[in-house]
Amino acid sequence: MRLVAAEVLKIRRRRGLMIWSLLLTIGAVLVTQIIIIALHAANPDHYGAAGGRANLEGYTALLALLGSVAAIVIGATAGTQDVSNGVFRDLVVTGRPRSTLFSVRVPGALLIFLPMLAIGFVLAIGVTYGFAGDRPTPSTSYVWHSIAYAVSLTVVNLIIAIGLASFMSSRIVVGVLIAWNTIIAHLLLGIDVIGRVRKLIDIAAAEHFSPAINDNNQISMSDTTALLVLVGWAVVFFVAGRWWTQRRDA
């Protein structure tokens, strides 16, 4: 627990990172809501209410996309900061196993990221029901599936970022993972020839949990398959990061 608290401290004290992460999660939802509420107040005939199921879809998509960016940046920072600041060797000479020094990065980064995502969802759900007006509100199941989608996608991205950044000892993974999430994975999903192999793409598996996307999703899979694919991605990159952390010169 003390090591996890130390990881949290290292990330929490990075002012720039914290501000950007808050903006990408809570800030993005809040600003969107303020704009929609203001537009609705100014012209209710032309602009709908800020709540309801349709808007929850939008807030969830925002949290999944921008939340992933925040998760990637936080994960890459957690994965590289000890090495890039030259402190890793000082932690190694305490005698703590390198595998432990690596592993604690995951709960440390999650403890920073998940509260932001949670507050983002509290705002989203609060407005979904509180400002629904005459719009239909989502069922509880719909809400839980929306949360499952955003959490699974962002958490897997965070673990991938930690593993890949530790493996490569470089924050270039931020660019690589953002490109994967926003462009490359979607291009691959659009190539029909690949067929069922597309199930192995993490975004396809995460989208399986999204009630909004899953209705029209061409890549159908079972809950178990989706879960296994997501866990597989996280495990592969976690193991790669841990392996290199154990092996590298400190």
Binding site: L9, N85, T94, G95
Partner: protein, 306 residues
């Protein structure tokens, strides 16, 4: 004799190059031990290998009597080390940086943070971000980080690097104080003078090999005794002394002659020979051999052998 570091045939290779080449090293407990060598001699690689930061290619290492890497965790729990320059998270304060490392050590380490900061004179600046610290302050914070382990052995890599004269003096006092507390300090340095002033024992290393090892004074005193003399007629004195077979070298430095004696001849014999030849001797003084001379002697001998 209790030893804190012991290596046998320790070797670290990078490709064909041996940065540490079959080193047998014995560091006794309770001393300041200097690991002296020119830049690039393999001092830092040796330290990194001792601490398990890099894997040895072959050979054996024992720290605090515990074989490495088998008993790594037990040994390192009582070892504090600064490898190369002390590095920290610049966005954290000095105290926070110590908290990070204390978290990786036993619970008691948390309770040593304030004490360690006070010990190195950083209590007043402990809550400032490390990026505002001078190099000297970072060196001291590095020492404070070592003290979190309440170490039996401190391994300090070039601890005087970048320090001003006051900082060097302060570091020397700190190291001697650690030794007086019964700790062992193993420090690497290329600063001969500092090793001579700070350390009790020394190993001279060059090109990955330990050339000499022993007490600082013993090493400095090895070799032929040297005397310095002032005379009224330098030329005559040189002629007389050069003719004496038991005198191995006669060098002139200004008006002073530096002569090296072999077994069977002493300073009194030199004096008698000069006086009997009519040369007046105004000064005759045994030269204090320095570690620097010994260091240059052994390293230049190596170069000559190439």
């Amino acid at each position: 004799m209790e030893t804190v570091i012991e290596t046998r045939a320790l070797t670290k290779r990078f490709g064909d190059r041996a940065a540490v080449d079959g080193v047998d090293l014995v560091v006794p407990a309770g001393v300041a031990f200097g690991f002296l060598g020119p830049n690039g001699a393999g001092k830092t690689t040796m330290i990194r290998t001792l601490l398990g930061l890099t894997k040895a290619s072959s050979g054996e290492v024992s720290l605090l009597g515990l074989p490495q890497p088998a008993k790594r965790r037990e040994a390192l729990a009582r070892v504090g080390a600064i490898v190369e320059e002390p590095r920290f998270h610049p966005h954290l304060t000095g105290r926070e940086n110590l908290r990070i490392v204390a978290a990786a050590r036993d619970v008691a380490a948390d309770g040593r943070i304030d004490e360690s900061l006070a010990r190195v004179g950083l209590a007043q600046r402990a809550d400032d971000r490390v990026k505002t610290y001078s190099l000297g302050m970072r060196q001291r914070l590095g020492i404070a980080r070592c003290l979190l382990a309440d170490p039996q052995l401190l391994i300090l890599d070039e601890p005087m690097n970048g320090l001003d004269p006051a900082g060097i003096l302060e570091m020397r006092h700190l190291i001697r104080a650690f030794v007086e507390e019964g700790r062992t300090v193993f420090l690497s340095s290329h600063l001969l003078d500092e090793v001579e002033k700070t350390c009790d024992q020394v190993a001279i290393v060059d090109r990955g090999r330990v050339i000499l090892q022993g007490g600082v004074r013993d090493i400095a005193a090895t070799g032929d005794p040297t005397v310095l003399i002032d005379v009224d007629d330098t030329e005559a004195a040189r002629r007389i002394l050069t003719a004496e077979a038991r005198i191995t070298a006669v060098e002139q430095e200004g008006t002073e002659l530096r002569i090296r004696l072999s077994d069977g001849i002493g300073a009194a014999d030199v004096n008698r020979a000069l006086v009997q030849a009519g040369v007046a001797v105004s000064r005759l003084e045994p030269a204090r051999a320095t570690l620097e001379e010994k260091f240059l002697e052994v390293t230049s001998r190596l170069e000559g052998n190439e």
